[in-house]
Symmetry: C2
Subunit: 130 residues, 2 copies
DNA sequence: TTAATTATGTTATATTATTACACAGCGTTA
DNA sequence: TAACGCTGTGTAATAATATAACATAATTAA
């Protein structure tokens, strides 16, 4: 049984904001939005973001430097993320594909490296933008 | 037959430097190193990097904001990259695994999105660091 | 040989992220 | 209960990453 994390005030404020958006948010846009709630400095935002990433509540879209909520309630997948990104409208969707996950989880390279995490980003054009 | 790109002076200088390193280099460390060759400004470095990424001579390691040379002479894989990253020593290796590439190339999500590119980063501990 | 495209050099600035310091709250444990 | 470790807070300063805007030159295509 995984310990249920209790979030602090700052962490809750920032998680709420990210969960309300279905698209990734950037750190400084988050900062702008939470100033009215008393969060004034970048570091306060980054600290909360780092924690939320760590516990799997949000994911970082590395190629965009932005953060999106994890829709998977179980959050075991914090360490195994797959996203699709539209290069035109920048729409980002988290992908859960059992077969793909299995394939990635089971992947072994020829160097004997032990993987505990991966991040996969697919790029293309979404239906609307084709 | 793919057109063989002719690189400009700046592009060559920067590609040379990156190819001499077997590990990813960061933009400002590149800038520092090429100052003696007359490249003085970040933008000159970023412009060359962007071009080299575009033509597949180098890849960006998104989670590290760093650039590594593509070892694959054919460079068709600029748009389909897989890396392993050691979270302890930060060693980065490009992975070419036929089965994995096939799987990723053929991946279809359930939203009808057309992918033309992907980037996969595996994280863990390399043999030395385990 | 004009026009379009791509690259250059430079200055300034925007964006993303961390260091450093002082201190507060909480649970453990001795 | 006092000392300790751990995690979080608030603030200021600054580091690291990346792009905008402008003028100009070189290269390629029509």
């Amino acid at each position: 049984m995984q310990k249920q994390e209790t979030l602090t005030k700052n962490q809750k404020i920032i998680l709420d904001l990210i969960e309300k958006s279905d698209q990734p948010l950037k750190a400084y846009s988050i900062l702008f939005d939470v100033k009215k709630k008393g969060i004034n400095a970048p570091l306060q935002v980054y600290r909360a973001l780092n924690k939320l990433v760590k516990i799997g509540k949000i994911h970082k879209i590395e190629s965009r430097n932005a953060f999106i909520a994890c829709k998977n309630s179980k959050c075991q997948i914090a360490k195994a993320t797959v996203f699709s990104i539209c290069e035109s409208c920048e729409d980002v969707t988290e992908i859960h594909d059992h077969k793909l996950s299995e394939h990635l989880r089971d992947f072994k390279d020829n160097k004997g490296m032990k993987y505990n995490k991966y991040n996969l980003e697919f790029f293309g054009l979404c239906k609307k933008c084709v």
